[in-house]
């Protein structure tokens, strides 16, 4: 057993920190915050710079233009970006491009991958439907083959970033007579195809997502990805290394650091209070627990292990800690803790504690509900009977 980081990971982290220092301007952060998840010009430039370094393809095989690196580099990358609150994330890179690499035809790889790498092609994911969330296999959006085309009818929900996307990555039912998981196929749908419409849904945390509707949308037969009726494998597929940065500790640690910094500057009397210090100590213990789970998970993945329970543990603990920390910060700050960013009075940490609190349900139900995750731990991790 050896718990130390090899020097190359720490050196890489220094390189990342220097890179981030260059890019982390108030204007970039502002664009990220007011436009949460969207892609303004500064964010685009930042992501292009990351792409140029190859970091968006950290663990991809070199034959596919990746850096072919150990997933612990990916871990370092995610953690460092998360600590500094940088808009590095891009589902098109982390989910869609690997899926195209894995399941797409040579033509599809040629058609989409260069555009993705150049930042010109952006996908929104069309999986969930109003009646098919956790039970995704219940999806009903239908694709019917008519001559040289597929005709799609149906509806998707939580189609985030559709308003900025060039394409949709759509799961549709192609054979209702097969068992539920087996009659699903994956399609690429241009966002501007006739019959596609988008309706915004605003979450109470200020984040936007969408409903999307498909009215006799016609796409070429070549837009089927992978095997007909083989879509479920693609939906479920996530390269192991994508799970490495699944539930970081660093963004949570940053909340802690910001809280302590705020108290030190604005409420030094509170920071001297033994009761408050005790609460902060408890939070520190929780953060160490999260680090333990995140590193354990990353290490297992990096060494080719498959322990789904570890990823689930990390996800559950991280999402609940996000709530606990933002909750603690708000409690310790009293009425100040409730102030919103543009609330008319100086909000602690720019209102980040209350906005994080509002956003905290998302990770508790998103990415696989915490109930599902606990079931995975019990059944796939502990071998309990189903």
């Amino acid at each position: 057993m050896d718990f130390s980081w090899e020097p190359e990971f720490l050196t890489f982290r220094d390189e990342l920190a220097a890179f981030i220092r260059e890019w982390r301007t108030p204007e970039l952060l502002d664009e990220y915050r007011s436009n949460h998840g969207a892609v303004g010009p500064r964010i685009q430039a930042f992501q292009a710079a990351i792409n140029e370094k190859g970091w968006s393809r950290m663990c991809w095989p070199e034959a596919y233009g990746g850096l072919g690196r150990n997933p612990l580099y990916q871990f370092m990358f995610v953690e460092t970006m998360e600590y500094w609150g940088m808009p590095y994330g891009n589902l098109t890179y982390t989910s869609i491009a690997p899926a195209i690499m894995q399941h797409g035809s040579e033509e599809q790889k040629k058609e989409y991958l260069p555009g993705i790498f150049a930042g010109k092609i952006r996908f929104a994911i069309g999986y969930s439907e109003p009646n098919a969330g956790t039970d995704l296999a219940a999806l009903r959006t239908r694709a019917i083959r008519v001559g040289d085309e597929w005709v799609i009818n149906g509806q998707k929900i939580w189609t985030s970033l559709a308003e900025h996307a060039t394409h949709l990555w759509l799961a549709a039912r192609t054979d209702p007579d097969l068992p539920r998981h087996q009659g699903i196929s994956l399609f690429i749908v241009p966002i501007d195809a006739k019959g596609v419409s988008i309706r915004p849904l605003i979450g109470f945390s200020g984040t936007r997502t969408n409903e999307t509707f498909y009215d006799d949308v016609r796409i070429p037969a070549a837009n089927l990805v992978g095997k007909l009726n083989g879509g479920w494998q693609i939906v479920m597929h996530a390269l192991n290394h994508e799970r490495v940065g699944l539930s970081p500790v660093s963004n949570l640690a940053r909340l802690y650091d910001e809280l302590v910094a705020h108290l030190a500057e604005k409420r030094p009397d509170a920071l001297r209070d033994p009761v408050i210090r005790r609460r902060l100590a408890q939070a520190k213990v929780e953060l160490f627990r999260q680090r333990a789970l995140a590193v354990q998970n990353a290490f297992t993945i990096a060494t080719g292990g498959i322990k789904p329970a570890e990823a689930s543990m990390t996800k559950i603990h991280g999402s609940e800690l996000r709530f606990t920390l933002s909750n603690l910060a708000m409690d310790l700050l009293g009425r100040y803790g409730a102030l919103a960013r543009d609330g008319g009075a100086p909000a602690p940490a720019d209102g980040r504690f209350e906005s994080t609190w509002r956003a905290s349900p998302i990770l508790r139900f998103g990415g696989g509900t915490n109930e599902l995750q606990r079931t995975i731990i019990a059944t796939r991790g502990l071998g309990m009977p189903r």
Partner: protein, 365 residues
Amino acid sequence: MNLELTETQSQIRNTLRELIEKEVPFARVRELEASGRSDEILWRRLVEQGWLGTPFASELGGGDGGLVEAGLLVEEVMRRAAIVPVAEVLACALAVLRSAPGERANALARDVIAGEVRPVPALLEASDRFGDVEAVVTAEGRLTGEKLFVDYAEFATHHLVAAREANEIGLFLVARGAGVECEPLRAIGRTPQSRVRYQSAPAERLTRAQGLSELVQISRALAAVQIVSCMQRSLEMTVAYTSVREQFGQAIGSFQAVQHHAANMATWVTSARFLAYEALFDLEQGTASEEQVAIAKAAASEKAPEVLMLGHQLHGGQGFIEENDLYFFTLRGRDRCLAWGGHEECLELVSRTVERKQDWLRASA
């Protein structure tokens, strides 16, 4: 970085596990609990087969292991709730070696490995605080004072006592015998412990103040491992039981509520295990701070009571009776939560450094 056991470490774990399962029937553990005695049979076996040498250098007759290997030994012993002072004896010898290296420390280690000296720590006094040391050793080397919560005091051949001489704190080796009076204390853990009164007992200084600190750090990290071991056993037994126990026509382990409790238990065990062994590893490297070890102990001590309770909750009546083996781990585990700094005490330590700049991807600052 390698979070898996090396081949040698795996061998240590597997061989010792086999030995203890063979040598220690739970029936004997029950008898020893009732009589308040230690497991002399197991101890003899451990000495004979050289197990005590595991964390010591080969020049001393040891196995060239370190604190991580000590943790593995301690974990395996606790998996059987065995009543032997492996953690206590190893911690004493290792603390002396690390804080006061030299011929005397080497000799102590050799004696421990050979089974001739069995030292246990005697640190706490009435205040139950590690820093409070009133026990005094005279210029002639005579110790007078009282120590509480001395685990395995009567099975030990010597006590390693925290005391002052010429107002300088240190660890003093005191042989059981004249001037040493042990009075048994009974506690939830059902392992032997004593109040000990020293009256002009001959005492040999082995270390200065650093030895006390070293002994507390090592013992604290080993106690975290013991707690993890108890939680692990509770979880294993709970998964096994709920997988076979049927009610309403199905195994109760298939009910979601039961599964979710088990998932929570597993998450707490996994994170506590990582932090405990990381603390041992970093102590071995010399990079562990007092805060880090306190966090590892706090992480284990905080959740263990709940894990152990959930084990009983999910076992129902069957897990509650002493005929069955679940209770061993509940009692040992709860006791070890309080030994070497409980949750509250460790949080108090951590609260001293809440604003210290932390590298969040490592245990160090």
